[in-house]
Symmetry: C2
C-alpha cells in the first residue's frame, strides 16, 4: 500500500472530504432544491468534494465511453486528465471548450470546440471519470496505487460477454438532459485525448431507469416495469456513506488514500430478451419481478413504496412474493443489508444481426465502495436463482474506480499521480 | 396505371385531399400555434388529410425502422396496417396500445402494451408509414399500383452502402420529444406485426438538424454548423404543394390516385468523417460549407437568413461563396429551383470496429413529390462536386412512398388495398 501523497494543486484531500460529511457538488444541488425536477436547475457544478454524476439527480441521456491509454508515458496521461477536467468544467456551464470563443478563433486553426452543443443549454451535464484495473499494470508506475477493491470482475452467471464491450483503462460517463450535449462532451474529450487515449467501446442510453432523488418519480424500463423504486437516494446520506463512498462512516477501511471520497462504478450492458418477455403473460411478468406492473407495488403490498413483506403468503399458502422473484433476491434484507446506488438507462442498438431480434435492454451502472462484497455476490445469486435471468443476458461489463471530486483549480488525476 | 378505387372506410379521397388545400393534421397544429415551441403542444393528431410527421415541427428524437413483409398474403398485411394505424392513433394521445388498460388485463395474457412509455407524456409522437418499391413486386398483386416515382435509387456518388442498412418493403418513422416514447411506438408496432413483418434495419437519431417551422431556431449538426436554415417550412404552403405533396398545385401529374396527398421519403444514413473534420481549420470548414460557423450567415452576407449571393466576390476577386461550397451546390437556384423538405437527425452508433473511429453523422430524411428529379440529381451533383463530400460517406439508404393521411375511423393501407 502506498503512502498518501498530498495533491499538487487543489484537489481535496481525504481529510477535507471527510470533513465535508458526504455533501458534494451534486448532493448540494439536490439538498438546495428539494422537490424540484431535474430539468429545473440546468447546470451541475463540476467542482466539489465528490464527482458530479454519482448522486446527481439522474439526467435523461447517457453517453458512456470506455477508453484505452495508448501512450506509455504517465506524464502525457496526467496532462490529458488535467485538460479533460478543465474542459469538463467549462462544458458543465454550457460554454464551449476553450471558452466563449471556442467555436471560432483563427481561420488557420481548427476550432477548439466541435460546436454541436453551441447555444444549447448545459442540460445538467455531468462528466464522471473512472480508472479501470488495467491502468494499474506496469505501464505507468501505478501498480502500488491500485486499491484492492479495483479488480477485474470474475466470470458471473447470466453473462455472455461481447469481447468488444468489456473493460477499459478509463471510463467517461457523460449524463445530460439532451443527448447532443452528452455526446458533445465525450466527443470533445476524446478529441482532446487523441494520441494518448482512444475509445474502446461506447454506449448510448436514454430514458433513465433509476430514481436517484426523492424529487424524481420512478421511471419504467423496457420491460415496462417501474425500476429503481428501492434505489438509494441522494438524500440517504448515512446509507451513501456506508455503501457508496470510499471512507464514509461505516464503510470498509481505506487502503488507498487517493480514493477517499470516491467510489467504484460497475457497468453492465444487460440485454433484455424483449420478444420472449413480450410473449410472457402479465401474471408471469409480475411473478418474475415480484411487483405489480401498473402500480409498481410489491406483490405483498398495495402501494409502490410499501416495504417488501417477504414472509407474507397468499390465501393458498404460497409466498406473495415468489421465491425466485427479482425483488426478493435483490432486496437488501436478502443480501446482508447490501444497498447499491444505481444509475440505469435504457438502450437500443437496433437489430442483433445474428437473430434479427431487437438488441435492447438496460445499461446498468451501479456505484458502491466494495464491489467484491456488493455487486459480485449479488449478481452471482441473481444470475443463478433469479426468475428474471431467463429474460436477460449480460453482454458488456466494466469496473472503474471513480476518484473524489476536485476543488476549483484542481484537476482529475492529481490524487492518483500527485 | 390502375384505376383509382375509392377507399373502403373513411380514408380521404384524392378529391377531399385536394380540397383541403394542403392543410393537414401536422400543418393545422403549426398554423394554430404560431410562435410556439414544439414541446408546448404535446400531442399531434394522427388523423388528417396528411400523415403527421412530415410537416409537423420536428421533434427531438427519431426511431426509424425499415421492415420486410414475411407473409405472401396481402390480406394479412392489410390487417397489420389497419391494426398499426389504430395503435399509432392511440399512442399519439399518450394512451397505451389497447386503451387505458392496455398495461394490465388478464393475468393469463400478455399485456397489450409493453409499458415503457406508460405515464410519460405523448411528447408529440408521430408515426409515419411508407411503402418501399419492393412491396410492389409480384407477392401482393400490387405491381400495377406502383407509382412511377417509387423506384429504387440508382447508384450515387459518395455512397458506400452497408447492405444491412438498405431498402425495405415498409418504413416507420417515429418522432417524439422523448426517445423512450419513439422507441415504444416502433417496438409495439413491430410486436403487433410479428409473423407478418420483421425489422430489416433500424436507426436512432437525436438532436434534430433541420428546422421545419419558422417558430423553431436552427439547430446544429455534428459538424457544428447550423443545419436547415434554408429548409422548406410548414408555413410555405405553395412551395410544399409544388415540391412535396403528390398532386399539389404545380406538382408533377399524379399517376396513382391513392398517392394523391402523399409524398416520397428518401432516407440516407450519412456518416461524417468526424476525425478528419475536427482536424480541418475553421477557414476550411467555412469554405466547405459556405457559411460562418458561429452565426450561420452565408459567406456572402452577415446574418443567418440573408439570401445567398452566389455572384458576390471578395476584395481579392474570388467568389465569396466558394465554387465547391455545399450551400452553393445545394441551393435551389443552382438546381432548377428544386426545394426539399428535410427532417434530419444526428446519430451515433458508437465505434466503427474496422477503424476505431466514431460512427456518427446525420440521418437525413427528405420528402419530395419527385425524387428522380429532386434528390437523385442533387446527390449526383453533390457527390461529385461538393467540397463537403470529402468528409461524408453515405452508408444507408431507402426510398418509400408515404400515402396521404387517414380520416378518423380510416386506416393505413386502405388507399393501396382499397
Amino acid at each position: 500500500m502506498s503512502t498518501f501523497r498530498p495533491s499538487r494543486r487543489g484537489v481535496l484531500t481525504g481529510a477535507a472530504v471527510a470533513g465535508a460529511a458526504g455533501v458534494g457538488a451534486g448532493l448540494t444541488a439536490v439538498a438546495a432544491r428539494p422537490g424540484q425536477a431535474t430539468a429545473a436547475s440546468r447546470t451541475v457544478a463540476f467542482h466539489g468534494a465528490r464527482q458530479a454524476g454519482i448522486t446527481t439527480p439522474q439526467q435523461d441521456s447517457l453517453v458512456f465511453a470506455a477508453l484505452d491509454v495508448t501512450t506509455s508515458r504517465a506524464g502525457e496521461l496526467a496532462d490529458v486528465l488535467q485538460r479533460w477536467s478543465a474542459a469538463a468544467a467549462t462544458m458543465a456551464t454550457g460554454t464551449p471548450v476553450g471558452g466563449p470563443g471556442g467555436l471560432g478563433g483563427a481561420a488557420e486553426e481548427p476550432p477548439q470546440d466541435t460546436g454541436e452543443a453551441h447555444e444549447l443549454p448545459a442540460a445538467n451535464l455531468t462528466v464522471t471519470l473512472g480508472y479501470g484495473p488495467s491502468l494499474f499494470d506496469s505501464r505507468f508506475g501505478l501498480a502500488d496505487r491500485r486499491p484492492a477493491a479495483l479488480e477485474e470482475l470474475p466470470p458471473l452467471p447470466g453473462e455472455q460477454l461481447d469481447p468488444t464491450k468489456v473493460g477499459g483503462d478509463l471510463c467517461l460517463q457523460a449524463c445530460a438532459d439532451d443527448p447532443q450535449v452528452a455526446f458533445h462532451a465525450v466527443r470533445n474529450l476524446v478529441r482532446i485525448g487523441r494520441g494518448v487515449v482512444r475509445v474502446r467501446w461506447m454506449q448510448l442510453g436514454f430514458g433513465r431507469t433509476s430514481t436517484t432523488s426523492s424529487a424524481q418519480s420512478t421511471p419504467r424500463n423496457l420491460m415496462g416495469f417501474r425500476d429503481g423504486t428501492a434505489n438509494l437516494k441522494a438524500e440517504d446520506t448515512s446509507d451513501l456513506d456506508r455503501h457508496v463512498w470510499v471512507g464514509g462512516q461505516g464503510a470498509p477501511a481505506v487502503d488507498q488514500e487517493w480514493m477517499r471520497g470516491g467510489t467504484y462504478l460497475v457497468a453492465r450492458r444487460i440485454r433484455m430478451l424483449i420478444e420472449a418477455w413480450d410473449r410472457a403473460s402479465l401474471g408471469e411478468q409480475e411473478r418474475v419481478i415480484g411487483r405489480a406492473k401498473e402500480s409498481g407495488a410489491p406483490l405483498s403490498g398495495t402501494h409502490e413504496f410499501d416495504a417488501l413483506d417477504l414472509a407474507k403468503t397468499t390465501a393458498h399458502g404460497k409466498p406473495a412474493i415468489d421465491v425466485a422473484a427479482h425483488v426478493r433476491l435483490a432486496a437488501p434484507q436478502s443480501n446482508g443489508g447490501v444497498k447499491l446506488l444505481r444509475r440505469g438507462y435504457s438502450y437500443t442498438d437496433g437489430l442483433d444481426g445474428a437473430t434479427g431480434q431487437l438488441d435492447a435492454g438496460l445499461f446498468f451502472i451501479v456505484f458502491g465502495n466494495d464491489p467484491a462484497h456488493q455487486f459480485v455476490p449479488l449478481q452471482r445469486k441473481l444470475g443463478s436463482q433469479d426468475a428474471l435471468t431467463e429474460y436477460l443476458k449480460h453482454t458488456g461489463s466494466g469496473i472503474f474506480a471513480c476518484p473524489p471530486g476536485t476543488a476549483s483549480g484542481g484537476a482529475w488525476g492529481e490524487g492518483l499521480f500527485g
